[in-house]
């Protein structure tokens, strides 16, 4: 076995998976607050463009990430306004957000097509990156890979160890009761949508900053939808989102290498695999009557204060 190849396969799996981790966590934080946002795809592409545009203009990586987060958050705030304040149907609004984001990015990004962003330098973690095979595979990445894992940890800590996280879960579980206890359902959901939008934006920017330092119309290519499926697959737990994202990433990378090695499975089958796995997971979740695996009770429902 060629350890150099193995190491580079693992490295590329992490690179392929990181946008899904960010976007999945962005969807997760919203869904735990009871908000179903189908606009993740639109938020990602807007973030991809914002990150790319700032990088091309010569800004440092930190500024590009911030710009991507801001773009995602701003577009998400439109969603928040429509859904929380004007009681628009969240499913239709989310779909519209995806279409709007894709169109907006295509329009504003046309001038950037064909340009290249500067390469993001890898952070070689001291000592760890020196370990043979494992080092180059896991500990020699761009900062965003580490940030994605750190974000999952922060969200896990927030949801399970902080009072604010408990309130967010309560709002997502039963908004009527949360309101009766005096919590601001709208405020909590607004913040969750903004954070989720920012994370989706960063996930999008990873595509243009690291994966392919280019911007192309529609380049998110359905990753926003995979992220939404991932959250269900992960039964709304942050670390399982990472596991799911890496599984999806592995399938797509192994498929590429498989083709190179001449394995004769049609790539379409392999592309379908993540979705088949998701459907399988959904069936298993539905069959097990375990409440901790179920979606938040108020997911996707509209909150009105009257009565």
């Amino acid at each position: 076995m060629d350890y150099g190849l193995l190491s580079s396969i693992i490295h590329s799996i992490l690179v392929a998976s990181t946008p899904l981790v960010f976007a999945g966590l962005g969807a997760l934080i919203q869904e735990r607050a009871g908000v179903l946002n189908l606009g993740i795809e639109g938020l990602m592409i807007v973030g991809a463009l914002a990150g790319f545009a700032t990088a091309v203009a010569g800004s440092p990586l930190l500024v590009s990430i911030f710009a991507a987060a801001l773009a995602g958050a701003m577009l998400a705030s439109v969603f928040a306004l429509l859904v929380l304040k004007l009681y628009a149907n969240p499913v239709a609004t989310g779909l519209a957000l995806t279409l709007f984001g894709l169109g907006l990015a295509a329009l504003a990004g046309s001038q950037y097509v064909g340009q290249a962003a500067p390469q993001v330098a890898a952070w070689n973690l001291p000592f760890l990156s020196q370990i043979p095979v494992v080092g180059p595979a896991l500990f020699s990445h761009d900062p965003l890979v580490y940030l994605s894992i750190f974000t999952a940890f922060v969200i896990w800590w927030f949801l399970t160890k902080s009072r604010s996280g408990l309130i967010l879960r309560a709002v997502g579980e039963n908004h009527t009761s949360a309101h009766a206890l005096g919590f601001s359902v709208r405020g909590v959901r607004f913040l969750a949508i903004i954070c989720g939008g920012a994370l989706a934006g960063i996930g999008g920017s990873y595509l243009t900053l690291v994966q392919t330092p280019l911007f192309v119309e529609g380049m998110t290519a359905g990753r926003g939808w995979i992220a939404l499926a991932l959250v269900v697959f992960a039964s709304w737990r942050p670390f399982r989102v990472i596991a799911g994202a890496y599984l999806f990433g592995s399938v797509s990378i192994i498929q590429l290498h498989g083709q190179a090695l001449g394995v004769s499975i049609a790539s379409q089958w392999l592309s379908m695999l993540p979705y088949i796995v998701t459907i399988g997971a959904l069936v298993i979740i539905a069959g097990r009557n375990d409440l901790t695996q179920k979606p938040p009770g108020a997911l996707g429902s509209i909150f009105r204060e009257s009565k």
């Binding site: 902080s162 009072r163 408990l166 309130i167 879960r169 309560a170 579980e173 039963n174 009527t176 009761s177 949360a178 009766a180 206890l181 005096g182 919590f183 409440l291 901790t292 179920k294 938040p296 009770g297």
Partner: protein
């Protein structure tokens, strides 16, 4: 013990009066929900708030709890001015409220649910210890790690009560706390409330159940149309006199007078079934059910909730069909194999216990709900599949006017009606179909006294017209005043049938506990 005495001294030291309400008014547009309400509650007092639906009880407690702001008047809590702007103010001033619909979260644990109700608390070990101390003191048992989803109504309520007690309240408001509890759970609740009152805490107790108020409460304030009409000592009143004071008119006594069936021995409807296994394993298995009803007669079936009444209702109405047709005979014809629809064509109609979800669809209008059961009458269904909205509305209008249903129009959603009005509508819907046999389960559950009386009169009138009625109920007074004969269901088994005249509450109680009574 010494601890509770210490608390009692601490609480009573401040003042004898806990809450004083003076001249409180609240208007919604022109409508006065509360007008010049004055009320005084002493420390350690359990004070009942009685009134029909819409009498203004909820508005009053919402003002005390800071959910609504009064338009006029003032309040005083523990000898200082009190005007809460929101429930948070009320909580910090020492007022706690247990809602009728519990504000709990299914997927969260008991500990997390309690933490959410406490300002700035996190579900950690320290909180768990404090909760267990409170539980110990009031003998309330809960498992902190359980999720609310796995708990029954009584346990959920206990979680709410603990949440309120953790705030060390001086005044507790309970809104219809026993409406979802079993008799045993009710008894436990009363023990807790007595203990709280011994400690000097005051309790405002809203209930429809006058019997409970007479047992539990020190004083009762009666409200009608937004005003206080009387303050009485419920222990000196009978249930009936309380009810009369509450609705402001004399309740004509509902008493069954024997009619035709006494002489004739004709049987309209008879049931003789062996074992019936319900579809859901949660329901009780019926064993050897035998009963029969004559025309113009009312048979009551008593029993503690959950002893097979649900399955029995399903078997009688045809929601559960049996393979042996002749185990149920209606007018000499076997019907046990027929479903609800087929039995309805033969004149057997029913009104289930659960008004919303089972008898009606909450989100549909009244006239749409008519179509659910009465579609084969008066041309509501044209050619058997097209709905005539006009006929359905006319039918609904007729139900509304005939049975005094208070609703803005037949276009109102079923869920918008009060329990009593919806029940009148739902029973009326069946009665206009001229049932020959009518099966009804707990028709007056959660219904105010006036509507209760009306529903009883509806049933008596139906019997006078010659229908056979089976009344499944947990309300002993109801059974004793309305029925001709009574039997009791216990663990899925029916007792011998007694004539109502020879039945006493004591005998009923013994039968409900499953004791064998020889005649």
């Amino acid at each position: 013990m010494t601890e509770s005495v210490a608390i009692a001294e601490r609480l009573s030291a401040s003042s004898k009066q806990c809450l004083g309400v003076r001249g409180l008014s609240k208007f919604f547009g022109d409508f006065a929900a509360n007008r010049d309400v004055t009320l005084s509650i002493d420390a350690g007092e359990i004070h009942a708030l009685l009134g029909e639906n819409g009498a203004g009880k909820s508005t009053l407690v919402k003002m005390i709890y800071g959910i609504l702001k009064p338009d006029a008047g003032s309040m005083e809590l523990l000898a200082s001015a009190y005007s809460p702007n929101n429930p948070g103010d009320a909580k910090s001033a020492g007022v706690g409220m247990v809602f009728q619909h519990f504000a709990v979260f299914d997927a969260l644990t008991v500990l997390e649910n309690i933490a959410l109700g406490l300002e700035g608390r996190f579900p950690d070990k320290a909180l768990a210890t404090e909760i267990l101390e409170v539980c110990e003191r009031y003998r309330l048992h809960v498992e902190l790690d359980q999720r609310i989803h796995d708990l029954g109504a009584g346990e959920r309520q206990r979680v709410e009560i603990i949440r309120v007690l953790m705030q060390d309240p001086r005044l507790l408001i309970l809104d219809e706390p026993t409406s979802v509890l079993t008799p045993q759970e009710t008894e436990q609740l009363f023990t807790t409330l007595d203990r709280l009152s011994d400690e000097g805490r005051s309790i405002i107790y809203i209930s429809h159940k006058l019997d409970e108020v007479r047992v539990l409460c020190d004083r009762a304030t009666l409200m009608r149309a937004g005003q206080v009409v009387d303050v009485v000592d419920p222990r000196q009143e009978s249930t009936r006199s309380l009810g009369e004071k509450m609705i402001g008119e004399r309740l004509s006594e509902t008493k069954r007078t024997q009619t035709i069936d006494a002489q004739t021995n004709a049987v309209r409807f008879s049931v003789r079934v062996g074992d019936v296994y319900p579809e859901s394993t949660r329901n009780v298995v019926l064993t050897d059910v035998y009963l029969s009803v004559a025309p113009g007669s009312i048979l009551g079936i008593s029993g503690v909730s959950g002893n097979g009444q649900d399955t029995l209702f399903d078997v009688l109405t045809g929601e559960l069909t049996l393979p042996t047709p002749d185990s149920i005979i209606l007018n000499d014809a076997p019907v046990a194999h027929l479903d609800v629809e087929q039995r309805r064509h033969k004149g057997l109609l029913g009104a289930p216990e659960n008004r919303l979800d089972h008898a009606a669809i909450p989100e549909l209008t009244l006239w749409e709900n008519v179509i659910l059961t009465a579609r084969h009458t008066r041309g509501i269904l044209k050619n058997n599949h097209l709905i005539s909205g006009k006929s359905a509305k006319a039918f609904a209008e007729e139900v509304v006017t005939t049975f005094d249903v208070r609703t803005p129009s037949v276009n109102a959603k079923a869920s918008s009606l009060s329990g009593g009005n919806l029940q009148k509508f739902l029973i009326g819907r069946e009665l206009l179909g001229n049932p020959k046999v009518f099966i009804v389960s707990n028709p007056t559950w959660g219904v105010d006294a006036k509507a209760q009386l009306f529903i009883h009169q509806m049933l008596l009138k139906l019997a006078d017209q010659g229908a056979s009625i089976i009344l499944i109920s947990q309300d002993i007074d109801e059974l004793l005043s309305v029925t001709d004969r009574i039997c009791v269901i216990c663990h899925g088994r029916l007792s011998r049938t007694f004539s109502t005249e020879e039945m006493t509450p004591e005998l009923l109680g013994a039968l409900m506990l499953g004791q064998e009574i020889d005649s």
